[in-house]
């Protein structure tokens, strides 16, 4: 598959503190890549280097627009920075038109596109409102429009869901999916892994500047031969046969309910057969581990520590 972005051996430090430590990854055209890690992992620095705002100490970045290798073309890339803001005293529409023009758009085209997007996100009434009069969620929507207004091939979103309520988070996820359907390639960073695993095709996990894990999300999950299992059964049944299974680690136990982790390679189907034969089941859920757990495991396997607070 053709790659729109290729990052090779990227490193960056500030005053002796390493922010990004020799990372490499690529973003296949048309895919959504989640650039994930806790706060302070080096995500924003990496994205700023990709966007040409910072220079790396070491490493190379290659783009491929319209099927041709090229350097960064800022008119073909949309960027939603982590530190969000536009001109506070200026009105919403002029703000968007200005950013559109800086991205190479004609004024009229920028105006039309901005109005369409404002309608799409339900902010058409606020076009002539000053930016500082908008709520946080509204500001984030306007800022998002500023990053997609010029119809970029490649979209870089730094923490697009940060500070949003669940309704707005869902809204943004829906828009990101739509953009992918239109053929856009999206690279976005986030620290809320539960949210992003729903829409990512592939992931790149980073911690303390170092590359932890990368690849196709589905394949990564499948490679973790571990399942999180919830069972609801008749309280009169005896589930002790499960407690004796060496591949099972009980997490929670109640009358008529069990939650456990099963590390049984390809034996999950066999286990389900066993459960259905021995218990009067009301419900059973068996799912691969969440991305957050995969991340923690991967970091711990490297002998490193994770600060759970940095995911907040």
């Amino acid at each position: 598959m053709e790659e729109i972005l290729q990052v090779e051996n990227l490193s960056k430090s500030f005053g002796g503190k390493i922010a990004v430590d020799n990372i490499s990854f690529s973003v296949p055209r048309g895919q959504i890549l989640g650039f994930l890690g806790p706060n302070g992992a080096g995500k924003t620095t990496s994205l700023r280097i990709i966007m040409g705002i910072l220079n790396p100490d070491k490493g190379d970045i290659f783009f491929n627009f319209n099927g041709k290798p090229s350097s960064l073309d800022k008119t073909k890339v949309g960027y939603l920075p982590e530190e969000k803001g536009l001109y506070e005293e200026a009105k919403v529409l002029p703000n968007l038109i200005y950013i559109g023009q800086l991205k190479g758009m004609k004024k009229n085209s920028a105006r039309q596109k901005a109005q369409k997007w404002l309608e799409r996100v339900g902010l058409e009434e606020y076009a002539n409102q000053k930016f500082d009069k908008l709520s946080r969620g509204m500001k984030q929507k306007v800022q998002f429009i500023a990053s997609v207004l010029h119809d970029p091939e490649f979209l870089v979103l730094d923490e697009p869901f940060a500070g949003l309520d669940p309704v707005n988070q869902n809204f943004f996820m829906q828009v990101v999916r739509e953009l992918q359907e239109q053929g856009k390639t999206i690279l976005f960073s986030a620290h809320q892994m539960n949210l992003v695993e729903e829409i990512c095709d592939s992931i790149f996990l980073i911690n303390k500047g170092k590359q932890i894990l990368s690849g196709n999300l589905k394949e990564i999950k499948e490679s973790y031969k571990e399942y999180n299992v919830n069972i609801y059964f008749n309280p009169e049944n005896d589930p002790s046969f499960l407690l004796d299974n060496p591949d099972i680690q009980i997490n929670k136990k109640n009358i008529g309910y069990l939650n456990f982790t099963f590390q049984g390679d390809n034996k999950i189907n066999k286990l389900i057969d066993q459960i259905t034969a021995n218990l009067d089941l009301k419900e059973i859920q068996a799912s691969p581990p969440p991305l957050h757990d995969i991340f923690i495991n991967a970091v711990q396997e490297r002998g490193e520590e994770v600060d759970e607070n940095q995911f907040a």
Partner: protein, 406 residues
């Protein structure tokens, strides 16, 4: 991934247009641009109104003329003026009482003694109603003519003897008299430069600080280079400043036209253009310096304190203007005219005092252009680096930013 210093003029123009239209609507610009001309016009009008008022005010004076010669002449001399003179034939005590009762603003006694000594006194109930300056020229003329007549001179001889003297300066290589504009234009532009830098330079610096604080800078730098961004900002604020200066100059000229005949100043393109070029480049250079300074700061308050100090540095030559005007071609003066922060003020002051040789005009313009590029380059580097921390940048950080890639 090396950043280049290559400028994209279309991008800089877009930024300039945005900054210009944004800046022109700010209350600070509107107040500074229109309040100052109103003040200039107001001061001019005040002078005009007081003059009119003074002319309209009639001073009623009585005169006891013991010589019998001066009274009628003075009466004739003050005809059609705002001095209403009456020759009083009663006693001095009677006149004193009448004056105290308000019949006259004051009275004057002319005796052969004070005619000889040339010392006269106006007696008044309220001396504030007397303007001696109004009557003195008339009295002086009458008495001088009377004295000369007493010496036996005829009217034509008196007219010839009392003809006013004028003194002019003629440049050797010019046919026309020395144009006072050669002195006035550079000095006036120096003063305007000081005002422009204080006002619009301050707006530019606050704009830069605000952009950092608003976090808008990151999205801008993801669209265009920091060099284009800062160049555009300086262009935009430069245009704003030119508009402001244009309005101020128009108001100033309108006011001055009441008192000065511009044809007498000897204004010409040849006189205006060279100092205007220095003014324009000087403004851009100082604006670049302020933009670079703004990039290092976090808060506007911090900006205003630092700016107060920075403004003083380029304006130091103004405090040394006495020395500069007396020795405009001294070696130290020539050297300082090429050192960045002092160039515009030094050059304008020297241009008011002497005619700079063409080669020196060339080196000054080159030094200005070099300084502009240097300051924008430094500012854009600091600007890019500054977005990482949104904090004030110290001298230690500055040297790192300039030495290392960022």
């Amino acid at each position: 991934m090396k950043k280049s210093m290559k400028i994209s003029l279309p991008n800089a123009k877009k930024v300039a247009k945005w900054e210009f239209t944004k800046g022109i609507r700010t209350p600070m610009f509107l107040v500074l641009t229109f309040v100052i001309p109103l003040l200039i016009l107001g001061i001019g009008s005040l002078e005009f109104i007081t003059q009119e008022f003074r002319q309209a005010q009639t001073m009623e004076l009585a005169l006891i003329d013991n010589t019998g010669e001066i009274g009628p002449r003075l009466l004739e001399q003050t005809e059609n003026t705002n001095i209403q003179l009456e020759i009083f034939t009663g006693s001095q005590e009677e006149l004193k009482q009448k004056t105290l009762n308000g019949a006259y603003d004051g009275f004057l006694i002319i005796t052969p003694e004070n005619l000889r000594e040339g010392h006269f006194q106006i007696f008044s109930g309220d001396p504030r109603n007397i303007a001696p300056a109004q009557i003195r020229p008339h009295l002086e003329k009458v008495i001088t003519e009377f004295r000369l007549e007493s010496l036996g001179l005829v009217k034509e001889e008196i007219s010839s003897a009392t003809r006013p003297v004028s003194l002019g300066v003629q440049a050797l290589e010019e046919e026309a008299p020395f144009a006072i504009a050669r002195f006035l234009v550079p000095i006036a532009l120096g003063m305007i430069l000081l005002l422009s830098v204080i006002f619009s330079g301050q707006m530019l610096m606050y704009g830069v600080i605000k952009e950092k604080r608003n976090r808008v800078v990151e999205i801008l730098l993801s669209s265009i280079s920091s060099f284009d961004l800062l160049t555009g900002k300086i262009m935009g604020y430069g245009l704003l400043s030119l508009l402001q200066v244009g309005i101020w100059t128009t108001a100033g000229l309108l006011t001055a036209s009441r008192f000065v005949n511009f044809q007498d100043l000897g204004l010409s393109l040849e006189i205006i253009l060279p100092p205007f070029i220095i003014f324009l480049l000087g403004y851009i250079m100082l604006a670049s310096l302020f933009a670079a300074l703004g990039a290092t700061m976090k808060e506007a308050e911090e900006g205003s304190q630092a700016q107060g100090l920075i403004i003083l540095i380029p304006m130091i030559p103004l405090f040394l203007s006495g020395l500069l005007i007396t020795a405009p071609n001294a070696l130290w003066v020539r050297i300082f005219t090429h050192i960045p922060p002092f160039i515009p003020a030094m050059a304008l002051l020297r241009m008011g005092a002497t005619t700079l040789p063409w080669w020196e005009m060339g080196t000054i313009v080159l030094a200005l252009l070099f300084s502009i590029v240097l300051f924008i380059y430094i500012g854009s580097r600091i600007f890019s680096r500054g977005i990482l921390q949104y904090e004030a940048i110290g001298f230690k950080d500055l040297s790192k930013i300039l030495r290392k890639k960022y």
